[in-house]
């Protein structure tokens, strides 16, 4: 759709809402186009292509913020958006006011990092890359029997927002991702493993290192055994630590604290982690594929330490929770509260050097069931895990069929060291960067 038409449609919605009686109003247009190729057994098994668009509206009436959504672009759709939001305002009973915002000095927010690299994302390029990747994965080891899932996809889409306070926001971003899942077999033992790459220039994809990383993590699993239940000194590898830590990140939201859904309520300034642990939010982090200069409420983002050398420095605020606590938004309003690019400060030593000091313990590389095996409020977790034994100071035998169980808040206080091997995963409204983390002792359940 023509963006000029989209913008005029948004302005029409806002004008009509004010005419209807809304005190404040905001309308947003979102469109996306995506393409994906899947490869299976030397052929293109699937090709997907899509385009989509939608309009969302929010407006304040009777002191309540009503919302509605549609995919239609007609006069009837405008009436639907406004009457639905008005109906919603009639039943809402929120004691905390919400806001539509515009900083007069930043009323025009534009961020369009999409460049010509996106044009390289063609069907033929994806097919060529996918077929090569599948072939080279299978030839890497005769134990890799199948590439059960190989998908290369890209997406791109503009977001446009205007409101009755004078704000105009335009953002256009893109991403490419490559994911491969392989099956390895040895005798009766079957194991699977996957690897993800993402970026915004397909030329930066390094097939060799992708294959080596996938294989180096998958093949040792064929020899994996459980270990005896007990308490083990443990390092959680970078990506596994991201998935664990990321599952508890909502506890840093001021909204969660205000609603009694976070044990961090009232603890700003307290020591909540060990001295060696620093967690920062860096919205425009140079290493991040997805940079975030402003949030979805039109507030500029900025760098901040959430935890600095173990001390809890700030909760994350959107406009609504900031008003309630009498402070300013921290630029974390994303239809609620969310984090952009989160970075755990890395240490100096490698995992191997830390393992040498540990002597006997575990290196956990994979955690499963994070959606079910943890209590996001209490911090308790018990998770299916895989990894390696640390024996005589070396990363040694592969380990499967164990759980690690503990408490997120205890782990933060017990962190002994962060390694120097930072990796990243897409997370929340940006990416989460973390090195491997030595968390001290943790309870392990396995064979008796």
């Amino acid at each position: 759709m023509d963006l000029e038409f989209a913008e005029s449609f948004l302005r029409k919605i806002v004008d009509r809402a004010i005419e209807y009686g809304f005190e404040e109003a905001q309308a947003a247009y979102s469109a996306d186009a995506s393409m994906a190729v899947e490869i299976l057994m030397g052929e293109v098994s699937s090709f997907e292509n899509s385009s989509g668009r939608g309009i969302s509206f929010k407006g304040k009436l009777y002191g309540q913020m009503g919302r509605s959504h549609t995919t239609e672009f007609t006069d009837e759709a405008i009436e639907f958006l406004i009457s639905s939001a008005a109906d919603n305002c009639k039943v809402l009973d929120d004691e905390d006011p919400d806001f539509i915002y515009c900083d007069p000095e930043n009323s025009e927010l534009i961020y369009c990092p999409v460049n010509e690299a996106y044009e390289k994302n063609t069907y033929n390029r994806f097919v060529e890359l996918g077929l090569s990747l599948e072939k080279n994965l299978l030839s890497y080891s005769d134990k890799i029997k199948a590439v059960d899932y190989l998908r290369i996809s890209c997406s791109k889409g503009p977001d446009l927002m205007v409101n009755s306070k004078g704000l105009r926001v335009f953002k256009d971003s893109d991403i490419i991702s490559i994911i491969a899942g392989c099956r390895a077999e040895s005798g009766d033992v079957v194991k699977s493993g996957s690897e993800l790459w993402y970026g915004n220039d397909i030329d930066l994809f390094d097939e060799k290192s992708f294959i080596e990383r996938l294989a180096s993590r998958l093949l040792p699993k064929l020899e994996a055994r459980s270990v005896k239940s007990g308490s083990y000194e443990t390092i959680i590898e970078n990506e596994a630590f991201i998935s664990l830590y990321g599952s508890f990140i909502s506890n840093f939201s001021a909204y969660a604290m205000q609603k009694g859904l976070s044990l961090l309520k009232g603890r700003v300034g307290d020591k909540i982690a060990s001295d060696c642990f620093t967690l920062s939010e860096i919205p425009m982090y140079e290493k991040a594929v997805n940079k975030v200069p402003f949030d979805a409420e039109g507030v500029l983002t900025y760098d901040k330490d959430i935890i600095s050398e173990g001390v809890f420095k700030t909760a994350l605020y959107n406009l609504k929770s900031a008003y309630k606590d009498g402070c300013k938004s921290t630029g974390n309003g994303f239809g609620g509260t969310s984090v952009t690019n989160a970075v755990v400060k890395e240490g100096k030593r490698s995992v191997d050097e830390i393992a040498e000091e540990i002597g006997e313990g575990l290196l956990i590389t994979d955690l499963s069931g994070l959606h079910a095996g943890l209590n996001p409020i209490s911090g308790d977790f018990s998770l299916l895990s895989e990894g390696f034994l640390i024996k005589d100071g070396k990363v040694a035998d592969s380990v499967e069929q164990i759980t690690i169980a503990g408490n997120f808040y205890d782990i933060m206080l017990n962190v002994k060291e962060t390694a120097n091997d930072t990796r990243a995963l897409p997370w929340a409204n940006g990416e989460f960067f973390s090195p491997s983390v030595w968390i001290g002792k943790i309870d392990v359940s396995g064979e008796d």
Binding site: M1, L40, M41, E43, V44, S45, S46, F47, E48, N49, S50, S51, G52, G54, R67, S68, H69, T70, T71, E72, F80, S84, D87, C89, K90, V91, D93, D94, Y123, A146, D148, R183, V190, K191, S192, S229, K259, G260, L261, L263, S368, G369, A372, G373, N375, I377, S378, F381, S382, L383, L384, E400, Q401, I402, T403, A405, D443, S445, E447, D448
Partner: protein
């Protein structure tokens, strides 16, 4: 949203480009929902979304394009891209469209979309007022009610021309109990294809009290022990263990590419002889039911396992081609933004002979999983994990102290073979299942069962245990 003429043009173009199956899927979704938190209405939402997907198949080569922009130029551009990408196969004949038919598995007396949001609020307040006054230990509470009407139409080159029209309601009640720095939540979330009469008949006050009681019990509970032990799994949502540990590995999505621990196992013993299991999408009014699947085939009541012997896989059209078999009417998707694939519906272990009490009494020591949380599985290896939301130790044949924080892990094949008791108290429970084609409503179910040995991931060892394996 697309005219019949345009739909026929799409199918013509696709078949002329070499597709041996061309399918157009159209979807309209209307919904409304209300949510309360700590006694206040903080969410009210309503919407209407529509879109379409065009799927071309040539052997096992699949092209899928979708959009919610029904402008003819956009539709034909997407169609052209799909036609260019499909592998060229032998020319097939297009079969004339059958007369449009409509079907539903909804069982509705009162259409929930005719109910105002204010009535939603009145109902939710009955739950909310219980939670906010139940006990000071209940410090946070939430409840929500959502209804969705989904009208989908499948038209394809084999002449299929069918509409499925289902309306679902889901209620969710959650109480959080606090003790010092500990917080434990308890949740109940029934779902149905019945009308608003289901809500009117629902014993909301009683169920909310049970929810609060459970949260308080769990916040006062000690941690579950670690190690291998017998586990008795309660009926109803306990069936999630079968859904994850076995059901996903019986879908042709996995079996069709030999990525399942149950590949080539038809007719073989994969479970204890006590176990029979079905996937039945044809239970009127049940949350996971549907009459016509998302590629136009009639749904089925499929016997998966009979006395431990594997009888059937769940197969969609693509899986049928890969497995040289026939589709079983199990092809589903969350919405038009997903290509459909083989999925479960109402999947359950059939009832056996033992009573719940006899199974407990027969267990000297172990864990009783009264209420299960979610879990996940790797279909290739069968490795699974499940959270136990509400657990108790079993000591000397009696349910003893509550325990929390337990996770069950193992391999699906081992667990099925280790089921040594099956109760006579089959119950179903609503859930959502996430997989390749998105999140779809499913029912899990089972009677009380006992698994003779399973790894319980808890904290520390149980000092009182002298009969652990």
């Amino acid at each position: 949203m697309l005219s019949d003429r345009l739909i026929c043009d799409i199918i013509d173009s696709a078949v002329n480009s070499g597709a041996d199956l061309a399918e157009v899927y159209l979807e309209d979704i209307r919904y409304q929902s209300v949510g309360m938190l700590n006694g206040r209405v903080l969410k009210a939402d309503s919407g209407f979304d529509s879109g379409y997907g065009i799927r071309l198949m040539s052997g096992t080569n699949v092209v899928y394009v979708y959009s919610n922009d029904s402008d003819e130029n956009v539709v034909m551009k997407l169609t052209k891209e799909a036609c260019n990408a499909i592998k060229k196969g032998d020319k097939v004949d297009i079969i004339a469209l059958e007369e449009l038919s409509r079907a539903t598995m909804s069982d509705i007396k009162i259409d929930p979309l005719d109910i105002s949001k204010l009535e939603f609020v009145d109902f939710l307040k009955r739950s909310s007022s219980v939670m906010t006054t139940f006990d000071p230990a209940i410090t946070e509470s939430s409840c929500s009610l959502k209804t969705t009407n989904r009208i989908s139409r499948v038209v394809n080159s084999k002449g299929i021309n069918k509409v499925e029209d289902d309306t679902r309601i889901r209620l969710a009640i959650e109480a959080i109990a606090t003790k010092g720095n500990e917080k434990q939540s308890s949740r109940v979330s029934p779902g149905t294809l019945r009308g608003f009469e289901f809500i009117n008949e629902y014993p909301v006050v009683e169920k909310t009290r049970e929810c609060c009681d459970k949260a308080i019990r769990m916040v006062n509970a000690g941690y579950a022990p670690s190690g291998k032990m017998p586990v008795v799994i309660n009926n109803g949502f306990g069936g999630v263990i079968f859904h994850e540990a076995c059901g996903h590995a019986l879908e042709s999505t996995s079996v069709g590419i030999r990525n399942s621990c149950f590949t080539d196992m038809l007719g073989k013993q994969i479970a204890s002889p006590l176990v029979s299991a079905r996937d039945n999408a044809r239970i009127k009014g049940e949350w996971g039911s549907y009459d016509t699947d998302d590629e136009g085939n009639s749904s089925s009541d499929l016997l998966l396992i009979e006395n431990g012997i594997l009888k059937n896989y769940m197969i969609d059209e693509l899986g049928a081609r890969r497995m040289d078999s026939i589709a079983t009417g199990c092809c589903r998707r969350e919405s038009y933004t997903y290509a459909p694939t083989s999925r479960m519906s109402n999947t359950y272990i059939c009832g056996g002979d033992d009573t719940h009490d006899d199974i407990i009494a027969d267990t000297e020591y172990g864990l009783y999983a009264a209420s299960m949380g979610g879990g996940s599985v790797d279909p290739a290896t069968g490795e699974f994990n499940f959270a136990v939301d509400e657990g108790y130790m079993i000591r000397n044949g009696k349910i003893a102290e509550p325990v929390r924080g337990a996770t069950l892990i193992g391999k699906g094949g081992d667990v099925l073979m280790n089921i040594d008791k099956v109760g006579n108290d089959l119950e179903h429970s609503a859930g959502m299942c996430g997989s390749l084609s998105g999140s779809v409503p499913v029912t899990v179910g089972q009677p009380t069962i006992r698994v003779s040995s399973i790894i319980v991931g808890g904290r520390d060892s149980d000092d009182d245990c002298d009969t652990c394996e």
